[in-house]
Subunit: 527 residues, 2 copies
């Protein structure tokens, strides 16, 4: 670890000066508006001085409501309102005439107040949580610069930056060369993989459609993400051509069943072309055995994709990257730095081992108004035609700035800390009466039942499962209405509703984890 | 117009107080760090006080570099660097160890400096430009709240808000009922339309794939957006099953040729199921004759989609909405408020007339971990399964806040102003020697050649076209390298490279438009 130099005093002085400068500027603007000067007149365009002042004031509201309070453990995670109440509070209707500056600032405050605080240390509800202040800075800059990622012409810094970030991510996978692109979310990244695999196997599908190729078969585990089904439907392959491979109790794909399913599909006349392995499944956090799956993919001439949207970040950690051993043998992978790394929604990449420009060849349409061939710079920098989008948000800056801020080592620490916090939580949970693991966690998802006193020791009653199934939804309702914490639940493959605790934010403390167990007990002990 | 009240003084006092409050808080934090207190240590997580201070300082840099200077007509539109130079300046490489706070603020400044200023009054290069300060506020709040649009549980305000915004947009189309969703860009919205149309015509395609349905045919004009081809490729329909319908000189689809192409496709054994009409084509800004196309779609039992990504905003204007007369007869439309309305990238919707829940039925996959059926609230509010994405960015807030700020009337004014500025520019252009329109503009795209003195009067020379084709690229290179303005060019259907001027931002003045003509002349008169 490098030594950190004290430089607070300097930056603090700069900060003071800057504050006074803005105040003086605002004062000048106020005076020039005269005695009857109004700040903003509805239905007119703001001039730049008014606009900047509004932005500055709104930023303060955002900082207070959506950052400061939102990360304060003493504040609520959410402020539940029934939809009808919430509609009234927010006054959502859009009208002919505009509103004043003060009204708009109040709206910013109201929206923040009635939004779920995903930045809160007690938000465990999704595969994202917490706030990274550097990534957030990158996001604010991205929004302000408002450009599209398609050409070097309008996004010079971001074209180069995307390339560097993708290359660095690939190097963690073990790919010295390759390709990739940022996509709007993991489902889209998975769709890209399936489409590129199809093009690789049957390039004529791009031009002539699926009528020119045999029926295709996709393989993925029973506990893989639902985007596999969505992808198959959207790409015209059909959900019934997705073969769901059995998993073990922890949710890992059983390779022998993959082999059997491939044989089965072939016997039905389908052509197996795509295997999706999961690294970090959505519910149990399971890691499929990648090396075994790679063997099977290779021997069947199939494209192997790894949906590591959730689990990919273990690649940063020396201690935990064994979970994805073999990933370098895959053809492509999905990885969402907006999840465990906290880059902010949305930050998802599809990475590929291919060096033959498959991504571009598969997706290009050569629009002449955008990708002119007679530009004065190297047009290989116009990477937009690799995408199925036209305009494409800049998603690399937030990850890049965060990475610059904490280094690969800082990101590795983040991953290791999440595992350590999970271990802590699991040990505590195991010692508590009334808490029961669904399976031993491999990752930072902890799946467990809370069994209220009335159900303990009654595992053999006929209605035990029905009663247990109702516990998590009621506790969830109570926690949301009180705003004390948020954690998800679901049934899975014959196992009735259980909680899925997701432990990722380095901002949560052991006391937040203790609180979680206490709170579930408090909310559910009467059930 | 409502009267605006003067309330500047109050807000200014509040602002002063807030500034001092933040300074005091920072001072406290500094002191608590002790004499050796450092502001940010690389590779460690920021605590909330440090994080908020960093955010505040970074915001000031963003405001100065990406708003204040970026909108200043005296500053450059872009700061051209060759890729190798730019890589050096930005120091893009990602390393093991993190950086100090001051270094990171400098990086924010550097990225802003070397990005294209799409907010600048002389940026005419894409179908977006300018800045709306209210929309930008909505975007900053969206990023800070960092949630996903899929469930009422984690996005209560935004689920309701999306519904209101979509309903209001539909009402402008003339649809009292219907459906819709925000998508990551217009290309994706167009893909949604094609997929829903396919499901509507052949629902078995979702489950059994395209092998269960006859070969499908898509119809779109020669000057429609390239996303139609990308959609057909991605959805497994194939680019060769896209029939390109002829256009008139202004770029409008010729209905008689649509009929002929449908007959032709049928004769080849294909099933016509989808017509895409364009409202505001990308290059010429052409509006296809929607009523005629609706007649043809209806009589052939086809789904009619309107790609109004660019032109849809004319619906706000009483004066100009005749351009999309008949749009209410379509089955679906794409509309990008991030273009003419300036909502910020990305803000795109697919709107549908359907009231049978087609969008949900077509895309749903019923993930049990997300869309639990035993939630305590009305689960019809969990609209995420309408999407092909899983996590989905909140794109409604920026549009909603902007709309609240200026009202429908303000947005109408914005559209009318763009048309008026375009008229001004066209009249000026027509009076200038050496400027020649490609076609009479219907919208706010102005396509024209600049003919340098050396080529004037030589229209009949054998090499005239070859020489003219080289003019726009050279002028473009010069303007980018000098950073004086940005405007696009392209060839089109036998017409050699011409400029496409896009006039949309209400922040540009007539002097910016005069400048554009002067500048092209200045940069090109020696050619």
């Amino acid at each position: 670890m490098p030594r950190c130099q004290g430089h607070y005093s300097n930056s603090f002085l700069l900060y003071l000066f800057a504050s006074f400068f803005i105040c003086l500027k605002a004062l000048g603007s106020s005076m020039s508006n005269g005695l009857n000067g109004h700040y903003q007149c509805a239905e007119t365009e703001l001039n730049s001085t008014e606009g900047e002042l509004f932005l500055s004031e709104a930023f303060k509201v955002i900082l207070e409501e959506a950052v400061h309070k939102a990360t304060d453990v003493k504040e609520k995670v959410c402020e539940w309102k029934d939809p009808d109440q919430l509609r009234d509070v927010l006054d959502l209707e859009l009208r002919d005439h505009g509103e004043t500056h003060q009204q708009l600032l109040q709206r910013v405050r109201d929206v923040a107040k009635h939004s779920v605080k995903t930045n809160h240390p007690r938000f465990f509800n999704q595969l994202f949580a917490g706030v990274d202040y550097h990534a957030l800075t990158g996001r604010l800059l991205t929004e302000t610069l408002n450009t599209s990622q398609y050409t070097y012409e309008v996004a010079p810094a971001f074209v180069l930056m995307e390339d560097v970030v993708l290359r660095k991510l690939r190097s963690l996978v073990g790919w010295a060369e390759g390709d990739g692109i940022f996509c709007p979310g993991g489902s889209m990244s998975n769709m890209y993989a399936m489409n590129v695999a199809r093009y690789w196997a049957f390039p004529q599908a791009k031009t002539q459609g699926l009528w020119s190729v045999p029926r295709l078969a996709v393989f993925t585990s029973q506990e893989s993400h639902y985007s596999m089904k969505k992808s198959a439907a959207f790409l015209g392959i059909g959900t019934e051509n997705v073969y769901h491979v059995k998993v073990d109790e922890s949710g890992r794909m059983i390779p022998e069943d993959l082999e059997a399913k491939i044989v089965h599909a072939k016997s039905q006349g389908a052509v197996p072309f795509f295997v999706n392995a999961t690294a970090g499944s959505t519910v149990q956090g399971a890691f499929d055995p990648l090396d075994r799956i790679a063997d099977i993919s290779e021997s069947n001439g199939m494209w192997m994709h790894v949906d590591a949207a959730w689990g990919g970040s273990v690649l940063f950690s020396k201690k935990h990257k064994h979970l994805v051993a073999g990933i370098e043998r895959a053809n492509s992978m999905t990885w969402n730095p907006h999840k465990m790394l906290m880059a902010g929604l949305q930050c998802s990449v599809i990475l590929m081992r291919d060096t033959t420009d498959l991504l571009m060849r598969c997706h290009c349409a050569n629009a002449t108004y955008l990708f002119q061939q007679d530009k004065f710079y190297d047009i290989s920098l116009d990477t937009g035609d690799k995408s199925i989008q036209c305009g494409r948000k800049v998603d690399c800056l937030k990850l890049w700035l965060m990475w610059k801020a904490v280094g690969s080592q800082g990101l590795a620490n983040r991953v290791d800390m999440a595992f350590a916090n999970t271990r802590y939580f699991v040990e505590k949970l195991k010692k508590r009466e009334g808490f029961q693991l669904v399976s031993e966690p491999q990752f930072v998802n902890v799946c467990f039942w809370y069994i209220p006193p009335s159900l303990r020791g009654k595992e053999n009653s006929a209605d035990y499962k029905d009663k247990l199934a109702k516990v998590a939804p009621i506790i969830k309702e109570r926690m949301v209405k009180q705003g004390s914490m948020m954690v998800g639940y679901q049934p899975l493959d014959g196992r009735v509703n259980f909680f899925r605790m997701v432990i990722l934010s380095p901002q949560l403390t052991q006391s937040d984890l203790d609180f979680c167990l206490d709170e579930i007990e408090r909310l559910g002990r009467d059930l």
